[in-house]
Subunit: 309 residues, 2 copies
C-alpha cells in the first residue's frame, strides 16, 4: 500500500458527566485525509483544503501526531499528507482530534499496522497537546476506537469502549463563534466542592450503567454537569435556552460538546434528534449568528478507509 484515503470523524467529549473521560464518535461529519508514501524521509503536509490552517508539521496537529509516531518507529520512507477539513477548528466537536488521529491511523496502515488502534491514541494525543496545551485523550480515543469510549488513565494508556445502545442519536448545533479549547479550559476551577464531586461522579457511574443496561431513562437522568457547565456555558450564546428547548423537544439530555461552543443533545432515535434540531434552529433564528446543525447516529467503527492503492 502506497497511498490511503480515510474519513476521520467528529466526536463529542465529556458528555456532561464525564469531563476528560467520556467521548463518543459521530457519523457523516469529519475530515478526509490522504497520506502517501514518499521516497524522501520525514513528513510534509502538502495541502489543507476547507480551512486555512498551517501546513507546518510542528503546528498542524496532523503533522505533530505523525511525527510523534515516527519518532518511535523505524521506517524507510516519508509521508505526504493532504487534509480536506470537514470539521471547523474550534467548534468543539473534535476538529484537532480528527486530524491528529487520522494521520497516525493512515500512516500505521501504510507501514503494516505495527500498532493497535489503542496504541495510536498516545501519538494522537500529542496533536491534542499542540492544539490546546492539554494532553486529553477523550476525543482521540472516540475517533480511533469508535462508539462511546472511556479514558480511565491516559498516563497508563488505559482506554476502552463502552456499550452503545443502538437507538442513541445526537443533534449538534455549532454556533459560529470560535472558542479555543485553551480559553475554555481556563474558566474551569482548580478545586471542586466534594459534594459536587459526589454528584457528578454518581451521574458518570449511572450514565455508564445506563449504557450497559440500555436504560434510556437512567441515561437521561445522568446527563448532568454540575461542575464545568455552569462555568463554561456563559461563553455560549443562548445555551440555557437551547438546552431547555432540546429537552422539551424530547432529548434525553443536552450539554456542551467538549469545550464548546457546540452544544450536543442526545436522543432516542433519529426522528427525535431531528425534532431537537428544529427546536435548536428556532432558538437561533432571530439571532444574527451563523450556525451549523448536525444529526448523527453513533459511529461504532471510528475512522474508515475510503480507498487505498
Amino acid at each position: 500500500m502506497k497511498e490511503i484515503k480515510i474519513f476521520s470523524p467528529a466526536s463529542i467529549a465529556n458528555l456532561s458527566c464525564g469531563f476528560d473521560i467520556l467521548g463518543v464518535c459521530l457519523d457523516k461529519i469529519g475530515d478526509e485525509i490522504t497520506v502517501r508514501k514518499t521516497d524522501k524521509k520525514g513528513v510534509t503536509i502538502k495541502k489543507v483544503l476547507g480551512e486555512s490552517l498551517s501546513t507546518d508539521i510542528s503546528v498542524n496537529v496532523a503533522g505533530v501526531s505523525a511525527m510523534a509516531l515516527l519518532n518511535e518507529t523505524e521506517v524507510d520512507c516519508g509521508f505526504e499528507i493532504e487534509i480536506n477539513k470537514g470539521i471547523k477548528p474550534g467548534s468543539g466537536i473534535g476538529s484537532s482530534a480528527a486530524s491528529s488521529a487520522g494521520s497516525v491511523f493512515a500512516i500505521n496502515k501504510l507501514i503494516g499496522e505495527p500498532y493497535t488502534k489503542k496504541e495510536l491514541i498516545k501519538f494522537a494525543m500529542q496533536g491534542e497537546l499542540a492544539a490546546s496545551d492539554s494532553k486529553h485523550a477523550d476525543n482521540v480515543a472516540a475517533v480511533l476506537l469508535g462508539g462511546f469510549t472511556f479514558v480511565r488513565n491516559s498516563e497508563e494508556n488505559d482506554y476502552f469502549k463502552l456499550n452503545t445502545p443502538i437507538e442513541i442519536a445526537f443533534t449538534v448545533i455549532h454556533p459560529k463563534i470560535e472558542l479555543k479549547t485553551k480559553d475554555s479550559r481556563a474558566v474551569v476551577k482548580n478545586q471542586v466542592p466534594i459534594q459536587k464531586m459526589i454528584e457528578q461522579s454518581a451521574n458518570l457511574g449511572a450514565f455508564i450503567s445506563g449504557l450497559y443496561t440500555e436504560n434510556y431513562d437512567l441515561i437521561s437522568r445522568s446527563i448532568k454537569d454540575v461542575i464545568i457547565e455552569p462555568l463554561r456555558s456563559i461563553l455560549i450564546p443562548k445555551f440555557d435556552e437551547i438546552k431547555y428547548e432540546s429537552i422539551k423537544a424530547g432529548a434525553l439530555g443536552c450539554g456542551i460538546s467538549g469545550s464548546g461552543p457546540s452544544i450536543f443533545a442526545m436522543s432516542k432515535g433519529i426522528p427525535t434528534a431531528n425534532c431537537v434540531g428544529e427546536a435548536m434552529k428556532n432558538v437561533y433564528q432571530d439571532l444574527n449568528l451563523e450556525y451549523d446543525i448536525h444529526i448523527s447516529c453513533v459511529n461504532d467503527k471510528g475512522i474508515q478507509i475510503l480507498n487505498s492503492k
Copy 2:
C-alpha cells in the same frame, strides 16, 4: 403474619472509588432481628443482645428508621423489636445500616408490603442520619437490594443494583478500635483538586464497566481512592501494610470499608480471599490488638427471612 425473624447482613460502602455511591452486601455476618405486632401502637425495642446499645427508639437506629416508616404509614397496631447484633457498632461494615434497614424490612413484611425494597431505603437512611449525622444511602441500599448497589441521588430516591461477577469474594479485617462514622467523616476535606476528581471518577466509571463486562483486570485497576483514603487511612493501624500484603496475596484491590476501621480486600474466588485473610493475620499477629476476619461472597439477595408466623 404476626412475627418475623430476619437476617440483616453487613455491607461495605465506598469500595475505594465510589465515596457515598457504591455499596456491596456481604454474606454470613449480620444482625438477627425479630419484629412482632403488638396491640399497643408505637414501637418498642424489647431487647438488644450481643452489644450494649440503647433500647430508646429515638437513639437506637432500628427504632429511628421504624418510626420514620410509621410516620408515613397508617397502621392499626404497634411493633416490638428484638435485635441480636452480629455486627459490631463502629466497625465500618454497616452495623447501623443492618439494624436500620432490618427493622423497616421486617415491619413492611408484617403490614403487607406497601413499600418496595427501594422505597424502604429512605426510611432506613433516617437511621443512618441518627447514627452518623450524615444521610448516606450506600450501606442501606446494599442491605436492602443485595449485590453491588449504586446511589445516583438519594434526594431523588435514585438507587439501583449493578451486575455482580460471580467469583467476587471479600476479605474484611476489623481491628477492634472504635472509629465513629462522624469522626471519620470529619477528616474528609470539603474541596477536591479537579485532577483528583477526574482520576477518582474515571476509576469509578471503570469499576462499573468492569462489573458489567466481568473484567476482573479492569476492576482491579479501578479499586483506587486518591481522595479519601490518604486522609482516613492514618486512623487505621497498619493500613498500608495490610493493603500491600493483601494485593501481594492475590487480592484485586484493597481499601477502607466504609468509614473504617475495617479494611476490605476484593478477590477473584474464595480460595484467594482466604489467602488474603492469612496475609492480613500475619500483619496483625505481633500487635497487641484484637481483630476479626470475615470471608464472604457477595450476597445478591440482601436481607433474608429466617422464619415468620
